[in-house]
């Protein structure tokens, strides 16, 4: 048996140690906000926080997921996460929405460690999260809005 602490709640799971956290969360615990996109840590759709750090749950074995796991379902109750979600809504970021949970998890982790990132820091930090609908410009603007360091207009003025 493995014990996972997800969003403050303990779950006892009878799964192999090697099962990726993603599938434990989705198929065994039954929480569906964390998405499968690639299975090899290339797209970021499966991003969750482990002890506050953004990780790819699709390549993290449950045995290695020791500590506090936080998923998109808990972001509304997180002060930074909520701010990020609100910025996403204000700017109409999402198109299909499938990747956006992972984007928000990664953006929230970024803003927690770097509350006022430079544009290039955001771009670098978000490079591992794919969005096939191509919402990157709005994601960037939303992170800057959530961080309250708006540089979109600066960029425009300089070009």
């Amino acid at each position: 048996m493995i014990t996972l602490t997800i969003n403050g709640q303990e779950h006892e799971l009878d799964v192999p140690d090697s099962m990726p956290l993603l599938w434990a969360i989705r198929d065994v615990v039954g929480m569906k906000g964390t998405k499968f996109g690639c299975g090899i840590a290339q797209c970021g759709a499966c991003t969750v926080h482990l002890n506050g750090v953004a990780i790819r749950s699709c390549v993290t074995p449950v045995a290695a997921a020791k500590g506090e796991i936080t998923t998109i379902e808990a972001m509304a109750d997180d002060p930074v996460g909520h701010k990020v979600q609100q910025a996403w809504l204000d700017l109409g970021v999402a198109q299909c929405g499938y990747c956006q949970g992972g984007q928000i998890m990664n953006a929230t982790a970024l803003l927690k460690r770097t509350p006022a990132p430079q544009t290039q820091e955001i771009v670098d930090a978000m490079a591992g999260n794919l969005c096939r609908c191509g919402t990157y410009n709005r994601i960037l603007a939303a992170i800057e809005r959530a961080a309250d360091t708006r540089t979109v207009d600066k960029e425009e003025a300089s070009s």
């Binding site: 198929d27 906000g33 996109g37 109409g92 999402a94 299909c96 096939r132 191509g134 410009n137 425009e156």
Partner: protein, 776 residues
């Protein structure tokens, strides 16, 4: 249905049609033409010509609860284009509903009830705008009638305002909720009784809002699914959670048409959680939407199923695949390039091209290549199906619910009425989910587990190996220029396998709907033109990919026009405006296109004026002609598709090491009337980014019939650093033409505009996509 009158409301016919008198200018004639008892059967064009046609019965689409909550039933697939929001915006505005009192509910797959639900071709808004407004106007009239009945006053004395009906003479008012029960009992008014709101009465439709070119101008009707998406509550295909579900993955033949020869499942069955291994019957070629066959592993969770699949030992039989097993991309490209040197099936001809080419002062020739691509939706294909008591119930993210139901019914020999399809949100579509093969696979597995839901999940590797690939293409062009650089002749040979090869013995030539995507509709005004289509066989499943054959056609034509301008020593914008000639309308039939995206050529001609206008707007906004400095340049391309018009200018920089920076994209877009400008902008932004992937990164190659890319580490798609630093969308205010598509027309000009900009920055001409490392 409770339809009391079959006369179509005059005001609902496109303003363009009325202005031009194309429908005879007589109400009587109009009514006769649109006699509703026959309209859907008789219609040659538009929504009425689609299977299932359109429906505008308010009882089908609009529900009002007694607490005032308005539910708009959405009959189209939501795959990121925002149609659940935009159709609700249209209905709510016409009805007069408070936006925070509106929600959307997804219709089941039932085209007999909801009209056509096949969500492709950028058709949702242009086909459903008018039916939805009529449905909402009818509902509003029913609410007014209910209030009039209750107050015992004539209906013309009452008036619907926002979420309420008022009788101003006496100051009485009743909310929509309080009237809903009574309104529901009334007959649906005939269309002649409907009066749609005037533009000045509209609050949402056509109104700019939200984020405009990097600045939040004003609040906008919040996206219907926005809150659910950001909190992780939105339900996509894989999120369907039914008790007792089993999870399945399938090992499919690596070569199109191959079969299982032998399978040893002994190791797979030892994997913890694996329940069963079953062989899946594959379709023979052409496969249409049918499963490819293979071996399914069924387990208690997705991971166990994937681990079980890894442990299978399968010997494939490539004999049934024929020469698909020899399909290798390099050799194939060379064979198409060779075929492009000889004349092909003539598609369109005017003047004597060969003589004009011979006599030209200067000749320009080029061959362009675009590879296979996979749609690679972020949500890989997935479906849940349960079979019980001779009935099938499916939950799936599909663009074409009817095809999924018919697929299951046909395969399992069930009556269509016994197949139910619940439409989930789609985590991207891009044409991949128009094909319901994955739903049919789930049904085949479910057949072996009667009474138990089966969730059939595709891995990313499955998705890239077994896409319905965007057709590989070679386009060869020759042009003759006179002493002033003016074009005297244009010869274009286009070669691609056809999507028709999915459904019939390989025709090897493009069909009308493929040629009509920017090939025979080529708009340039050149005295001698010959367009040819030499043969190109298919060796993999070819399918729709967002904007489809417009991609290679626009890529080749727009790149070549730039090459001609360079050869002539002329400014690119001035040159293409000259090639287009004066503003005028070209009827599609006169250029040999009988398809026209299914739309009426009288309402949707090839409009050179609109084409000129998007070019002029995009170049003006981009500061065309400005000095850019070393290693930096502007590039232009334009294209009309899905009866809309797009022009893009990129501002790019390439450094000494070949590193490309996209400083800005200026996109001018004309889709005629705009229902929800906020989502139109988002589609243009997204198309721009996806098109950058088409230009720079994305390619699936084959070796001996097997796809060589596996996942996002080898099949590359744009990431945030690849996006332009700034994307600016300039919507053309054009309420007078008929409505055009939005989801796809932004994509085709991206790759040529980017490559033209790269040329302007570096002098390096790109003729083969993706650009990849060609700049280093």
């Amino acid at each position: 249905m409770n339809r009391s009158d079959d006369t179509l409301l005059l005001a609902n016919v496109s303003r363009r049609g009325l202005l031009k008198g194309l429908v005879g200018g007589s109400a009587l004639l109009l009514a006769a033409r649109w006699d509703l008892a026959l309209a859907n059967e008789q219609a040659q064009f538009g929504a009425g010509a689609m299977p299932g046609g359109w429906v505008d019965n308010p009882n089908v689409f609009i529900q009002i609860d007694s607490d005032g909550l308005v539910t708009i039933i959405n009959n189209r697939a939501e795959m990121g284009q925002g149609i659940r929001t935009s159709l609700a915006v249209v209905a709510a505005d016409e009805l007069g509903a408070e936006w925070d009192q509106v929600r959307a509910q997804q219709a089941e797959g039932d085209q007999d009830k909801y009209g056509n639900q096949n969500t492709d071709g950028s058709r949702s808004m242009r086909h459903w705008y008018e039916p939805m407004r009529r449905a909402a106007a009818a509902a509003r009239l029913m609410l007014e009638q209910a209030a009039a009945n209750q107050w015992d006053v004539p209906v013309h004395e009452v008036r619907a305002e926002i979420h309420k009906v008022v009788h101003s003479a006496t100051g009485r008012e009743l909310g929509f909720g309080g009237l809903a029960d009574a309104a529901r009992e009334l007959d649906v008014p005939g269309r002649h009784a409907l009066v749609l709101k005037s533009d000045s009465e509209l609050r949402f439709i056509g109104k700019e809002s939200g984020l405009i070119n990097g600045e939040l101008k004003s609040a906008h009707p919040k996206a219907i699914d926005g809150e659910d998406i950001v909190t992780g509550k939105a339900i996509f295909g894989a999120d369907i959670d039914l008790e007792n579900t089993l999870y399945a993955v399938i090992a499919r033949p690596p070569v199109y048409g191959a079969k299982v020869k032998n399978v040893d499942d002994s190791e797979a069955l030892k994997v913890a959680g694996v329940k069963k291994v079953i062989r899946i019957k594959g379709a023979s070629q052409p496969a249409a939407f049918n499963p490819l066959g293979g071996v399914a592993v069924v387990a208690s969770n997705t991971w166990a199923a994937m681990e079980g699949r890894k442990a299978l030992k399968i010997e494939w039989d490539n004999a049934p695949a024929g020469n698909n097993a020899d399909y290798t991309s390099d050799a194939y490209r060379k064979s198409l390039e060779k075929a492009a040197q000889s004349p092909g099936k003539v598609i369109r001809q005017s003047g004597d091209v060969e003589a004009a080419l011979q006599n030209a002062e200067k000749r320009v020739s080029a061959t362009y290549y675009m590879p296979h691509m996979a749609q690679a939706t972020m949500e890989p294909p997935v479906a849940v199906v349960m079979i019980k008591n001779g009935k099938a119930e499916a939950w799936a993210p599909v663009q074409h619910p009817r095809a999924a139901r018919e697929g299951i019914a046909g395969m399992l020999e069930m009556d269509l009425d016994n197949v139910t399809l619940h439409q989930t949100l789609l985590g991207g579509g891009f044409g991949r989910k128009s094909k319901p093969d994955f739903v049919m696979e789930a049904a085949l597995v479910a057949k072996a587990f009667e009474g138990q839901p089966i969730k059939l999940q595709w891995s990313r590797e499955d998705d890239i190996h077994h896409a319905y690939f965007h057709a590989v293409s070679v386009d060869h062009l020759d042009a003759g220029l006179d002493a002033e650089g003016k074009a005297t002749s244009w010869r274009h040979r286009t070669l691609s396998p056809s999507i028709a090869s999915l459904f019939m013995p390989d025709p090897k030539h493009k069909g009308e709907f493929e040629l009509g995507m920017g090939f025979n509709t080529m708009p340039f005004n050149i005295p001698a033109i010959r367009l040819e289509n030499p043969p190109a066989p298919a060796h993999v499943r070819i399918g729709w990919f967002r904007s489809v054959y417009n991609l290679p056609h626009a890529w080749a034509i727009q790149s070549f026009a730039h090459e001609m301008a360079v050869a002539a020593g002329k400014d690119h914008r001035d040159y293409v405006l000259d090639l287009l000639g004066p503003a005028r309308e070209i009827h599609n039939l006169t250029v040999g296109d009988g398809w026209n995206y299914g739309e009426d050529p009288d309402l949707h001609p090839i409009d050179i004026g609109r084409m000129r206008r998007v070019i002029e707007r995009a170049t003006a906004e981009a500061g065309w002609g400005r000095k850019t400095g070393k290693g930096r340049g502007l590039g232009l391309a334009f294209h009309n598709s899905f009866v809309s018009y797009t022009a893009i200018v990129f501002d790019v920089e390439v450094d000494d090491k070949g590193k490309l920076t996209i400083h800005r994209a200026d996109i001018a877009f004309d889709c005629g009337p705009q229902a929800n400008p906020e989502r139109i902008r988002s589609q243009m932004e997204g198309s721009c980014v996806m098109g950058i992937g088409v230009a720079l990164q994305s390619e699936v190659t084959f070796k001996d019939g097997v796809a060589q890319q596996d996942n996002f580490d080898s099949y590359l798609v744009p990431r945030m650093p690849d996006a332009p630093k700034v994307v600016r969308v300039h919507l053309i205010d054009n309420p007078n033409d008929a409505m055009g598509g939005v989801g796809e027309p932004g994509l085709p000009p991206v790759a040529p505009a980017l490559c033209n900009a790269i040329y302007a920055a570096t002098g390096k001409r790109i003729r083969r996509l993706p650009v990849g490392n060609q700049l280093s």
